[in-house]
Amino acid sequence: MFYLSMFFQYLSQYLKTRLQYRADVFVEFLSDLLSQAINLVFILVVFGHTDLLNGWNRDEIIFIYGFFLVPFAVFSAFFNIWDFNERYIVKGELDRILTRPIHSLFQIILERLELESLLGAITGLAVMFYAGSRLGIRIDWYDPILFIIFVIGGALVYGGVFIMLACISFWADARTSLMPMMYNISNYGRYPVNIYNKLIRFVLTWILPFAFVGVYPAAFFLDKEDWYWYSFLTPFIGVLFFILSIWLWNQGVKKYRGAGN
């Protein structure tokens, strides 16, 4: 309960801060929309030539891409921890976090909220409706509920993996960040995993389970029955990876060395 009320406290603070910079919000909004539109054009061009890709047609691939955008938007809004190493470890901001009576990871998530990113979800939904209508997908009453569950699961997968990567900073005192590389790998989850070889597919399913952010849950809505098992695994993998990441975080905080003055 306390954590929920803290969430709203930070949220209102965040909104106040954002509204102070009106021009900024507007420009950011525009640039976000623009980059989403470019993404969309890109995917239409790339998949315009291929009608079939290992049993997936063009609209299905676009649908998966659209689905992927939704959990990714949720992830970007809440787990804005790309610069964790720089900001909190090297600069020592974690000192301040650790002197407050709230779980350290939760505080960082609250401080780094970036709700503008949720805009990406709108693009995602638009893409899904576009592809979905061309495919003639019916929406059943349970679809929205499952959709929300899968989106949360996918966002948790993403969040979990990125928190674990951020935890590396607790042990290694390297200043370089693995994040850019991870960003590239995470993009593989946007495309049907069976177009890759077995090894990559295994990695994307069980080790860096980005496939659970895009293909697997989306397959459910595309009525790919042989993938259902994976689809329903999404929330469990999400929760599992997230819990693991919190455990790792708690271990890491004990190893925190602090920054010199």
Partner: protein
């Protein structure tokens, strides 16, 4: 009286990596890195009673900040026992930090972009302070620190002195019984320093707040602390009353002479030969300094002899300053605590 801080054989080690020279060395570093284990804090014992104001001093890198960070639960000790406010700071961190206030002079606790009062409001929620307690306590704090006019300004627009006063107020929102201040007066002007000192004295009297303070500015300690703990290379080298330290080490006086004509140090030494005096010369402004025991008779003897022999431009009698005492102690190493 109960102990607020109890620390036994506290130790914190860091691995210090050293890189090898040259390109070949850099390649070898990729696989095996050389490191030394350096104890930043080396088996120290400290007890602090409720209501005490303790000054924690030492040179840069002596281990002050590391100790404070262990006491506040930020760092995990390598070994040793540590009990603060009846809790183990690192193990019960979230419950523990509710009972302490922390100010790091070089780091802001407030949110950069939002107005000071918004920061306060958020912290009030974080520490679960009730409206009545907040009103009653913070009204007073805000008035004493004179930050009323700053409340609606964002932190990034405040000057350092204004910000520090707000930081101090922020650390006291939950009225903690124990306050850690790490270099709270660094870079501040005299007026702000005085205000902060007065304020600290006041809350110490009013709420019996225990205060542990690190600083490079010894006048802070002289103004506030009865007791000092001195640290060197991770070890406690003195723990006791500031007064005792002064009595024991400050038993000397300095006589500063400036002469009208150029004088050789040898001739000056000859004049006072037979008396227990040491001479030093400050080449820059041609000041001759006689260091001698603090005995009235001896002092007047020396002055009489020097005045008789040379034409004098200026004479000063100085007591050894705390800074000098500290410097002497560091030069000598440890102090027998007594």
């Amino acid at each position: 009286m109960e102990n607020v801080i109890e620390v036994k054989k506290l130790r914190k080690e860091f691995k210090a990596y050293s890189s090898r020279a040259g390109l070949k060395g850099a390649f070898r570093d990729l696989f095996t890195r050389n490191y030394k284990i350096v104890p930043a804090v080396n088996d120290i014992n400290i007890t602090v009673k409720k209501g005490e104001m303790v000054g924690y001093i030492g040179e840069n890198g002596a281990g002050k900040s590391t100790t404070i960070k262990m006491l506040t639960g930020i760092l995990t000790p390598t070994s040793g026992e540590i009990i603060v406010n009846g809790m183990n700071p690192h193990k019960e961190r979230e419950k523990f930090v509710q009972t302490i206030g922390v100010v790091f002079g070089q780091r802001s606790q407030l949110w950069w972009d939002i107005a000071v009062q918004e920061s306060f409001r958020l912290l009030k929620k974080v520490y679960k302070v009730s409206d009545e307690d907040y009103e009653q306590h913070m009204q007073h704090v805000i008035r004493t620190l004179d930050i009323e006019p700053l409340l609606d300004k964002p932190v990034r627009k405040l000057s350092l002195g204004q910000r520090m006063r707000c930081e101090l107020a922020a650390a006291l929102i939950h009225n903690p019984p124990l306050l850690f201040l790490d270099e709270p007066t660094i870079g501040l002007d005299v007026l702000v320093k005085l205000k902060i000192r007065e304020f600290l004295k006041e809350i110490n009297e009013k709420y019996n707040t225990t205060i542990l303070l690190t600083t490079h500015d010894l006048s802070d300690i002289e103004a506030l602390c009865e007791r000092v703990v001195m640290l060197d290379e991770g070890k406690v080298i003195y723990d006791g009353a500031l007064r005792e330290l002064k009595e024991k080490w400050g038993d000397q006086k300095e006589l500063h002479f400036q002469f009208l004509k150029k004088v050789n140090i040898k001739t000056v030494q000859n004049v006072t030969s037979g008396l227990p005096v040491e001479w030093e010369v400050d080449e820059k402004d041609q000041t001759f300094i006689a260091i001698l025991e603090d005995r009235d008779e001896l002092i007047s003897q020396v002055i009489a002899k020097v005045v008789a022999a040379f034409k004098i431009k200026d004479v000063k009698i100085n007591e050894t300053s705390t800074e000098e005492i500290i410097r002497k102690i560091y030069e000598k190493g440890a102090v027998e605590v007594g």
